[in-house]
Amino acid sequence: MTVVVRTIARVLLPISLEFGGYVIMHGHLTPGGGFQGGAVAASGLAMVVVAFGAKRLSGKKGLLSALESLGGVAFTALAFLGLGLTFFANVLAGAGGLFGNPVPYGVNPGDLNTAGTLPLMNWAVGFKVLAGLGAVVLLFALFGGEHDR
């Protein structure tokens, strides 16, 4: 791709990653969450694949698949965390510690430090979706390139 596309991709990649991170982080307060934020961030990765070509990124395939596995393991581990009560029980919500502030019923401005395991799960799923979608785009791009040659 031309230098214009590459430059714009360089500028936009951090922005899309940051916006994806924002959507993931505020998943329990505003519209959005792990899947949506992960997809936003993955669109940045797709842009990089288009702008710079899949060849230059082919070494990152292993990294992406490892990241995806880690995201899945982390998500399942968070679900296992509730096993003292039941699988998936939200043991951190309202417990006072990490993400443990209570929330009264009704309209409020929102507090990031709430919702227990939800933000952690959002992050796990966000990374998983980012890595997964990135890997799919990269695999398709690599396969096509191989065929054309």
């Binding site: 596995s69 009560l85 039941t86 939200n90």
Partner: protein, 510 residues
């Protein structure tokens, strides 16, 4: 920990799938050990659940609640997803775990490292998790989610041999059918959610009143699950799929079909059990007859050993549909013969898993040794591979329903039940069995008899152990069927036959 056994079976299988690629990055042997460990653990959990359910009754497990037994919120309606394991679910779980325990050691040896072993083992674990998730869940949307897990994992495994053009083609076809089936299921769930504002199977079942929309949902459920279970008009994906997947993984595909049938039983008997009428039963019976007939005739003309066995497998689906369909027809009056036929149909699920599984392992062993499955090129393998020939013979006879093997034990129950409804049904079913016997006699003769030929490779002992386990199962189930029918099959059939009230009471209380 034992109070969490049902979810541990599913959760650990999922965790195993997620983690398998990570272990493979460290060392391949670690990955193999991990896979065996996970499958073993899942097997233990499933066994524990089964023993518990068969001795003490339905096991309800609420996910994410303060306690696993807190099924309904204040107000008397369930809000969280819950696992509801009754005898039928536990029975299905046992079939899945049994075949997984046999299939995974076989797969470790059968699939070469350079052909994507890590990925296919991962998919196998996820498929197992999806099957168990479908069997244990008591929530309609959750059933859909796990239906899709199994669909995607199964299709990826069907497309495994990407270096041939047939495998991706079969996989595409199958995926198309599976997607439509999943979407029809989701549409049916959406209709029910729109009417009743709930997703819990037991709660909706208690509310169903038989409106036009309810009946449309039933039609959509039937279409979706029959499509996925390879019943006759839409069976054509199954031979391609079974023929193309690696032999060890075909076992899991067989269980995948059966768990779709299990979903059908669950929908018909538990969800719609209160308002069902006989025409639905007759529909299931006629589809069953059509399936066994069409598949048996198609098996006659096959030249590929894998596809021939696959058509044999499809025809067995017909017997299950016939057995349980007779029970459905008789559901309103609940005469004895309905329960007998249902016992036969459900017992046949276990028998079919063992026999068809063994046949596919034999096909895999033949391909391993000879490099081809074409009956026109095969022949004389009985000299080089006597153990495989023996296994194939036992499995074919069992599939055709020859006493004293297990296929006979379940088919005789189906015949007995269906005869009391209408002798024509029995006659047709017997005819299909005879046809199958002819088909498999020809296959055995074509592949194993004839002048001695050289085999490229001997069959590893792991294969023989896997196959031996299944042969022992077939013989034991055939020689002492009474013990298993009393202990395993009757509770499972009763759970569908009369168990709806118990199922609803276990979830909704009172």
């Amino acid at each position: 920990m034992s109070v969490h056994a049902p979810i541990l079976a599913i959760g650990v299988a999922l965790l195993g799938g997620f983690a398998a690629p990570l272990w493979a990055k460290l060392h391949k042997t670690l990955r193999d050990l991990w896979v065996l460990l996970v499958v073993g653990f899942v097997g233990v959990c499933v066994g524990y659940v089964a023993v518990h359910v068969f001795t003490t009754g339905i096991w309800v497990y609420v996910l994410g609640g303060r306690s696993p037994q807190e099924t309904v919120a204040s107000g008397g309606f369930p809000i969280r997803i819950m696992l509801t394991v009754d005898a039928m679910s536990a029975f299905m779980g046992v079939i899945a775990a049994l075949l997984a325990v046999v299939a995974f050691p076989f797969a470790l040896k059968y699939i070469a490292e350079e052909e994507g072993k890590t990925l296919s083992l991962t998919l196998g674990l996820l498929l197992l998790a999806g099957i168990l998730g479908m069997a244990y869940t008591g929530d309609l949307f959750n059933f859909f989610v796990f239906l899709e897990v199994t669909s995607i994992a199964a299709c990826a495994l069907i497309g495994f041999r990407t270096w041939t053009s047939r495998a991706p083609e079969a996989a595409f076809k199958t995926m198309l059918l599976y997607s439509v089936s999943g979407l029809l299921f989701l549409l049916a769930v959406a209709f029910l959610y729109g009417e009743y504002g709930a997703l819990n199977l037991a709660y909706i079942s208690a509310q169903l009143s038989g409106t036009a929309v309810d009946r449309l949902s039933l039609a959509l459920f039937l279409g979706a699950l029959l499509m996925k279970a390879a019943a006759a008009p839409v069976h054509f994906w199954a031979p391609d799929a079974y023929g193309q997947a690696p032999a060890a993984k075909t076992l899991l595909l067989v269980v995948n079909t059966q768990v779709s049938l299990y979903g059908l039983w669950r929908v018909l008997f538990t969800l719609y059990g209160g308002i069902l009428d006989a025409p639905v039963g007759w529909l299931v019976v006629s589809l069953g007859l059509l399936t066994m007939g069409v598949a048996a005739f198609m098996a006659l003309v096959q030249t590929d050993l894998g596809r021939l066995v696959a058509y044999g497998a499809v025809s067995q689906i017909g017997y299950m549909l016939l057995g349980v369909g007779v029970g459905l027809v008789a559901l309103s009056g609940r005469p004895d013969y309905g329960l007998v036929a249902m016992k036969g149909g459900i017992f046949h699920m276990l028998n079919d898993a063992l026999t068809v599984g063994l046949l596919f392992l034999c096909v895999g062993a033949v391909e391993w040794a000879k490099g081809t499955r074409d009956l026109r090129e095969l022949g004389g393998l009985g000299h080089g591979l006597p153990e495989v020939a023996l296994c194939f013979l036992v499995a074919s006879l069992a599939l055709a329903g020859i006493p004293p093997l297990n296929g006979f034990a379940s088919k005789i129950l189906i015949y007995e039940g269906s005869f009391r409804l209408s002798p024509i049904l029995t006659a047709l079913a017997v005819l299909a069995s005879i046809l199958l016997l002819a088909v498999f006699a020809r296959a055995f003769q074509g592949a194993f008899l004839g002048p001695r030929v050289e085999v490229k490779a001997t069959v590893p002992w792991v294969f023989l152990v896997s196959m031996g386990v299944l042969v022992v199962g077939i013989l034991v189930l055939g020689l002492v069927p009474g013990f298993f029918v009393e202990g395993l099959v009757t509770p499972a059939a009763e759970a569908l036959w009369r168990g709806r009230a118990l199922y609803l009471a276990a979830v909704l209380g009172g």
